[in-house]
């Protein structure tokens, strides 16, 4: 090829730009994660002394915090930092190591995408996830989620999602049952949705969860997924830059209340009401950052609508009928990602039929 008509070359910087925007969009979520981890830790550490000092992160947090009884903003921040940073650092280290090995074996430059994978993976973990789980999960995310498909832009399930799914399947009890992080000792549910299923609105109130705190994000849950506000900020950036497809996001956000209301009408009043479906659990975070991963979602406009509504329907279905998956976001998104190529295939087949009828 002797020449480059068109403008090959202009776009070369495009991929790094996309990754920078994606990382920037995660910044508010990271801040919310740090503050909320610190807040949850200090709130429960105050009454359950037994857990403080149980592991490295708690000891680190305790040594950093100045005032345990009446913590100030920076106390929350430091305690949160003591929890989030080691996890993120470990995830980055493991991810980077595998990425480097893969790049060496393939004689290619290292792909920078593992930073985003590590960040998303960490933000989907419960605050007390064991270091061994992080090592295992990140290894799976990079190797099984990304490298075996040929790297960035070629996988079909978001690597971070795959890593989390493997951790959840492999260590079902350990991954979400730490009492510090769900506010209820001895209950194997990871987040606020389990609290609702245990005791309804009363239990939520007792755990200090209302609409306001769910929007700000000061509720129990996996690290990065509690704050709707932070997620909305990130989503706005991604939508403005058109990195995520607004149709896919809108379909999920419209679909969830519709199906939740249907389930509530036909399932009875003890089902989770629609607004809690949106506010609690990791739906908002995963809908924006995992489901809308441009590489691993449907790539035709009708397919995006279909996939979005499918995610919403499956999510309500599993949350309603299967109490062992109170949050259900991870299995649903796995299913939806696996179905995305099939949806696209059907959309395209329909389009080809139409084209055949229309053309002269």
């Amino acid at each position: 090829m002797t020449s480059t008509p068109g403008n090959a070359g202009w776009a070369g910087v495009g991929r790094q730009r996309i990754q920078r925007i994606q990382l920037l969009a995660l910044l508010p979520v990271c801040l919310a994660a740090i503050f909320n981890s610190g807040y949850q830790f200090l709130r429960f550490a105050a009454d359950t002394d037994a857990f403080a000092g149980a592991d490295l992160r708690s000891r680190l947090a305790m040594s950093l915090v100045l005032n345990r009884e009446q913590p100030a903003i920076y106390d929350y921040f430091l305690a949160g930092l003591a929890h989030v940073l080691p996890m993120l650092g470990l995830a980055l280290l493991v991810g980077g190591l595998w990425e480097r090995i893969v790049a060496q074996q393939r004689h290619r430059p290292m792909e920078p995408g593992f930073v985003l994978v590590a960040l998303l993976f960490t933000l989907l973990l419960p605050g007390a996830a064991a270091f061994t789980h992080i090592v295992f999960g990140m290894s799976c995310a990079i190797l099984l989620g990304k490298a075996i498909f040929g790297g960035e832009g070629k996988y079909f399930i978001s690597p971070a999602l795959l890593g989390i799914a493997i951790v959840q399947v492999s260590f079902p009890a350990a991954s979400g049952s730490h009492p510090l992080w769900n506010g209820l000792a001895g209950y194997a549910g990871s987040d606020a949705i389990s609290i609702y299923y245990r005791g309804g609105e009363a239990a939520l109130t007792q755990a200090g969860i209302d609409v306001g705190s769910a929007i700000v994000g000061s509720i129990p849950g996996t690290l990065g997924t509690t704050s709707l506000l932070a997620v909305v900020l990130g989503a706005a950036l991604l939508l403005l830059t058109r990195i995520i497809a607004w149709r896919l996001l809108l379909a999920q956000v419209i679909g969830l209340p519709i199906f939740a209301t249907l389930a509530w009408l036909f399932g009875g009043a003890d089902e989770l009401p629609a607004h809690w479906h949106l506010l609690l659990g990791s739906f908002a975070f995963a809908a924006v950052f995992i489901a809308c991963d441009p590489v691993a979602s449907a790539c035709t406009n009708p397919g995006r609508w279909i996939q979005g509504f499918l995610i919403a329907a499956l999510l309500v279905l599993i949350r309603t009928v299967n109490p062992t998956h109170p949050d259900a976001v991870v299995p649903v998104l796995l299913l939806a990602a696996i179905l995305a190529p099939l949806i696209d295939h059907a959309v395209i087949a329909w389009d080809i039929r139409k084209r055949g009828q229309r053309h002269v």
């Binding site: 090829m1 068109g6 776009a11 070369g12 058109r242 441009p294 790539c299 406009n301 002269v360």
Partner: protein, 397 residues
């Protein structure tokens, strides 16, 4: 001679016909190196379809015939010499289809028609499904269609009448909603207005909306408004119109404006003194749809209406470092209507001609995919890949 249009005129000493403008033509030269030719005289014809002639863009002496790989004709260059004069053409013998077509073929105007799919010169006895006159140009800094067509209103409407007679199929005159081109009130031509941004002037959009082609073997023909005016000029005055209006723009151009220039003028002569110092790159066409010139493409193309000069040098060849495509939402708005960009671009990357055909590749030519090449992070030149796929599909027909 002051023309009917009030624009700064620029002359160049060299003119050149580009081989790349006439796809699929096996050129047979009708002149020798050093010959003097009159403007409008046939200088080349298609060896396979000898009725199709390509006429000299202006009076001059043949000074160079550039050939590239496998002796493919890159350009035929003339040195302008006004004293040689122009060829006079007799008006068509009758109003029937055959004599109208014969007039167009003899005068070289037939070579201005293009088919969709493939973008070839149509066969002299073929029948299209529809003919499109593109009297709209919405690309940034495009020359004003309304001013130019109004200045040549008689020529334009005479040529449209002729085009309605070369075939019994509908003839659409596609125009912007703000401007209705002057037509004979009794004309069989149908005016269709188009809007919707910078892509509204692409013939592919008009054909897709009014007469989608490709799947059932049919074809549509299209022709640009300046070529229609040139045809009308031949009809009314018996001699070819030797000028075209182009706009020169871009951030490296000192005085962006429209110019009246010779047909097939040498680009570097046109841009002399117009461009800032420093590294620049020239695009044939607008900043959105323009493409880097191919090797040997130093003259204005057949339907070229813009020259864009941008600051900064073109990057080197990077098409061999092709990354994976990231199917972002930003590709969606740049895709031609009715086309799913991501599946099509993937099929083009793989060179899967059958899949690309199903996804609508036959509705497109290079210009339709230029914005997608620019927006996609994969570094692929989809215009080039599309042409490869189209060549395969054409060979199968």
């Amino acid at each position: 001679m002051p023309g009917p249009i009030d624009l700064e005129t620029r002359n160049t000493s060299q003119l050149g016909l580009l081989g790349s403008d006439y796809r699929g033509v096996r050129f047979e030269l009708l002149c020798e190196l050093g010959d003097s030719v009159q403007a409008g005289a046939a200088v080349m014809r298609d060896a396979r379809r000898p009725e199709i002639r390509i006429s000299a863009p202006g009076p001059g002496r043949v000074i160079r015939v550039d050939r590239g790989a496998r002796r493919k004709l890159l350009s035929l260059q003339l040195e302008f010499d006004d004293s040689l004069g122009v060829v006079e053409f007799k008006s068509p013998a009758g109003l029937d289809r055959d004599s109208q077509r014969a007039f167009m073929l003899n005068s070289g105007s037939w070579s201005h028609l293009r088919t969709r799919p493939f973008g070839n010169i149509p066969d002299p006895d073929a029948e299209p499904a529809a003919i499109f006159v593109t009297a709209i140009d919405e690309e940034p800094l495009a020359p004003p269609v309304a001013t130019i067509v109004d200045a040549f209103a008689d020529e334009f409407s005479a040529a449209v009448e002729m085009l309605t007679r070369i075939s019994a199929v509908p003839l659409y005159v596609c125009h912007a909603s703000a401007y209705r081109p002057p037509l004979d009130p009794a004309s069989a031509a149908v005016c269709k207005s188009f809007g919707g941004g910078q892509a509204a002037g692409l013939p592919g959009r008009h054909i897709q909306a009014l007469c989608p082609v490709g799947f059932a073997g049919g074809e549509a023909w299209h022709i640009g408004y300046q070529q229609v005016i040139a045809l009308g000029h031949l009809l009314l005055h018996g001699r070819p119109w030797l000028q075209r209006v182009i706009s020169v723009g871009g951030d490296a151009v000192t005085r962006p404006r429209c110019l009246l220039v010779p047909v097939a003028a040498a680009i570097d002569e046109l841009l002399a003194g117009e461009v800032d110092t420093g590294p620049t790159r020239v695009l044939n066409g607008s900043a959105i749809y323009g493409r880097d010139p191919l090797p040997g493409q130093a003259f204005l193309g057949a339907d070229q209406r813009q020259l864009t000069v941008l600051r900064g040098s073109a990057r080197g060849s990077e098409t061999d470092v092709v990354d994976a495509l990231i199917p972002g939402d930003w590709l969606e708005s740049l895709a031609p209507p009715g086309i799913y960009p991501v599946p099509l671009l993937r099929a083009l990357q793989l060179g899967d001609a059958e899949r690309a055909r199903q996804l609508g590749a036959l509705e497109l030519v290079e210009e339709d995919l230029v914005p997608l090449s620019r927006a996609c992070v994969s570094n692929s030149d989809y215009a080039l890949l599309l042409r490869r796929v189209l060549d395969q599909l054409e060979a199968l027909r």
